[in-house]
């Protein structure tokens, strides 16, 4: 239900000066404090009463959270305070990780993308997270600051269930790091919403592909699917189809069917499970065809 009042429930705004202070505060206030960056998910849930908090802990401005840097040897680092628009409009992201720019640009509206962050999208752990799949197939690794110091958590072992991750009390995700892009990387993010732009995804398909001598087809394909399982996930089943044989339209069809067979969607207000399965097939085929056309030029 939509709360007719614009106000948030009573809570305190906390702005720690250091990561250490932030982790300590969060660890001392488990269940009542949450890291706060863009607030685009938290505010809605706070207003609906689904989320109850005493403290919003503003992490914008903490060390490393404002970093957005690319180095051809090291890769890309995106801090927790970096917004979707900053990612979608960054020349290095557009040039080296065009699929990430596309995924970030597909989220909600322009003004919301000025607040929403990639790290927030990831930490929210929604099955529908638009940027999660792309970060996964680009081999993203999260830098997490906890009470015991800093550790790396690969994105593919980060999610446990809808809204649940491996994060422990006191943890603050500071940034995500993507390794340098594979040579010849081509990718896309196909999203089905109730309208053409701006909606939550009913189905999201992230594809990345590049020439690879390790694969019998000569190419490595990576495919991640959103909104069709408890958490966004990489469909190894569909990827496998594309590794063994010469890439043809028929093989792409086969991979799309494999993608469909790998999902476990639910019925909800945005779409039925049966519809979602069909759309996974169609969108995967569309994404693979587009990527293959660019790759084989």
């Amino acid at each position: 239900m939509i709360n007719p009042h614009p106000g948030l429930p009573e809570l305190q705004y906390v702005k720690p000066a250091t990561l250490k202070e932030a982790s300590k505060f969060l660890a001392e206030n488990v269940g009542t404090a949450k890291p706060y960056s863009g607030g685009t998910d938290s505010f809605v849930r706070l207003r609906d009463g689904v989320l109850k908090l005493d403290y919003l802990v503003d992490i914008k401005g903490l060390e490393g959270t404002k970093e957005l840097s690319f180095d051809s040897k090291k890769g890309l680092t995106i801090g927790a305070a970096i917004t979707m628009n900053q990612v979608a409009c960054h020349p290095d992201v557009i040039k080296h990780y065009p699929n990430l720019a596309e995924a970030a640009g597909s989220v909600a509206s322009y003004q919301l993308r000025n607040r929403a962050t990639i790290i927030g999208n990831i930490c929210n752990a929604s099955p529908a997270g638009d940027t999660i799949g792309t970060c996964m197939i680009l081999d993203g690794v999260l830098k997490v600051h906890g009470v015991d110091g800093v550790r790396d958590v690969p994105l593919n072992s980060f999610f446990l269930a809808p809204g649940r991750t491996v994060l422990k009390p006191g943890d603050v995700v500071v940034a995500i790091h993507l390794p340098p892009p594979p040579k010849g990387l081509v990718g896309t993010y196909k999203k089905l919403g109730r309208n053409r732009i701006g909606d939550l995804s009913i189905v999201g398909v992230a594809v990345a592909a590049y020439p690879s001598s390790d694969s019998a087809s000569g190419y490595r394909f990576r495919i991640a699917l959103a909104s069709v399982a408890p958490v966004p996930f990489e469909s190894f089943k569909a990827e496998g189809v594309l590794s063994g044989k010469k890439i043809t339209a028929e093989l792409i069809d086969e991979a799309a069917v494999a993608a469909m067979d790998s999902v476990t969607p639910i019925d909800d207000v945005r779409g039925s499970a049966r519809y979602r399965k069909q759309m996974v097939k169609n969108l995967t085929r569309e994404a693979l065809t587009e990527v293959w056309t660019k790759l084989s030029k």
């Binding site: 614009p6 509206s109 322009y110 003004q111 000025n114 607040r115």
Partner: protein, 153 residues
């Protein structure tokens, strides 16, 4: 609840305001500064009626805490006209008939102002993408887009 004192610039005026910690930027603008041009629609970051410029970029002011706006520069719809004269965009929207009930207009104007700042000659698709987050329940989009196009000329 303890209040937080913040100093920020709103429509070229420096303001110092005591705000409750759970107050949104939208509430502060309307209730503390009495600038009621900015509207509250959905309180969920979807309708865009509360859109303002924060440090030059449009944001949903219902999704920003006032307490975090220390030092920020805010422009609301009241700040678009200068010296009693409407901006070129405002004139164009009026001429195109882009105002029906008027509830979405302040947010539309802010989103379109930001668009023209970053892209002075947008295509139709770029205009429509830029106002995806501004819902007009009179559904008068065609004339709003016409107005933005007129202002871009």
């Amino acid at each position: 609840m303890t209040l937080k004192t913040i100093t920020l610039t709103v429509n070229d005026m420096v303001e110092t305001v005591d705000v409750p910690q759970n107050m949104t930027l939208l509430q502060m603008i309307r209730e503390k500064l009495s600038l009621t041009g900015t509207k509250n629609g959905c309180s969920a970051g979807e309708c865009g009626a509360c859109t303002v410029l924060m440090n030059g970029e449009p944001v949903n002011s219902c999704m920003v805490l006032a307490a975090e706006c220390e030092g920020a520069t805010i422009v609301t719809v009241e700040g678009l006209a200068k010296g009693g004269k409407l901006s070129k965009l405002q004139e164009a929207i009026v001429k195109a008939g882009g105002v029906q009930c008027g509830f979405c207009t302040p947010g539309m104007l802010i989103s379109a102002t930001a668009l023209l700042n970053r892209n002075p000659h947008p295509t139709d698709t770029e205009i429509r993408s830029a106002i995806v987050g501004n819902l007009c329940r009179c559904t008068g989009y065609v004339r709003i887009v016409d107005g933005i196009k007129m202002a871009a000329k």
